[in-house]
């Protein structure tokens, strides 16, 4: 890729290329019921790509509903992988699978996460919707705490999804709660591609 998509109105401004004296692998939790948890994690992936990091996102609850990030991630020319592992949102109207099938899929996702986190081959791993998976008992608290403990010191681990468990929040360095002030669907607007999925 040689095309440059980034420009400036202030071309003469000196740019501070800050680097921390000490590198630390952060534990970041994105929770709450508002829009902007998975998308925030995807944004960190864009940022991390800019810094040349090696990145993996494992999506726990998604898999049966097309979402733009699948093709979006494929269009990013960097060391990033996204694996969706779920059978769709458990307990949501229209989802045909029993809880046992969702749990089985989530358990495979935990196994994958354990292996990849332990491998040391990544600088950033996102466990997307793992908080929901825990809340719905598709994965167990001990499993999530183990994944966090396995994290190499310099690897960043991001856990997204509603209703993050207090023990997960306790272990995290940065926690944001995204509250819904308004959402378009409450006035009957259908989900829109590029914004909602």
């Amino acid at each position: 890729m040689t095309r440059k998509n980034v420009g400036t109105l202030t071309p003469d401004l000196p740019i501070n290329r800050f680097q921390p004296e000490k590198r630390t692998g952060l534990i970041v939790v994105l929770t709450g019921h508002g829009k902007g948890k998975t998308s925030s994690a995807l944004g960190m992936i864009v940022r991390a790509c800019g810094h040349g990091l090696r990145i993996l996102m494992i999506q726990f609850m998604k898999g049966d509903f097309y979402t733009g990030e699948w093709d979006g991630i494929n269009k990013i020319d960097c060391d990033v992988e996204l694996i969706h592992t779920g059978m769709g949102f458990c307990g949501i109207q229209g989802n045909p699978f029993p809880r046992s099938t969702h749990r089985e899929a989530a358990q495979k996702a935990v196994e994958l996460a354990r292996e990849r986190i332990s491998s040391g081959g990544y600088d950033l791993i996102v466990l997307d919707e793992i908080n929901n998976a825990l809340k719905l008992h598709l994965v167990d608290l001990d499993q999530v705490l183990e994944l966090i403990r396995l994290k190499p010191p310099l690897m960043h681990l991001v856990l997204t999804g509603r209703d993050a468990h207090p023990e997960v929040i306790d272990l995290a360095d940065t926690v944001s709660q995204v509250n819904e002030i308004k959402h378009a669907y409450r006035k009957g607007i259908e989900p829109q591609p590029g914004i909602d999925f």
Copy 2:
């Protein structure tokens, strides 16, 4: 690009490729003091890229501090442009410019936004940190309301930054407030590349 970075653990699962019956251009506001507003907007850009949308992000307050999304956006093979227009964060320690210089830069950014929003050439425009720019009187409320009014009906407009103005929130379809539960810098951890910038 032929490399595929997206995989699945459930290859036989049928995928629902939902499309809304009615397309609507949404007004989305991402505000609050927690981490995850610009990153959420960047994530929507990844999603929108997946759907083949034409995208522009104008960054109002940034410009003097390197952030990974600049190179990250350059690595995305789609119709996306990012323009940073600011002189850095006005009023933040270490920023050498007087308010008048910040206002002048922000006024140029408003002019650019007005032209691009009116052009009809985009499906998604993000005005990054414009809420802060308004709060700091670098742009005026009337200017922001005019930008929203100029929005073509099918174009999505995303406005990020702390302390969104109530009149902007009134006009929005979807509003998320990102609250800080914890932040790593409060325990003395420096900003980390790929996560914080």
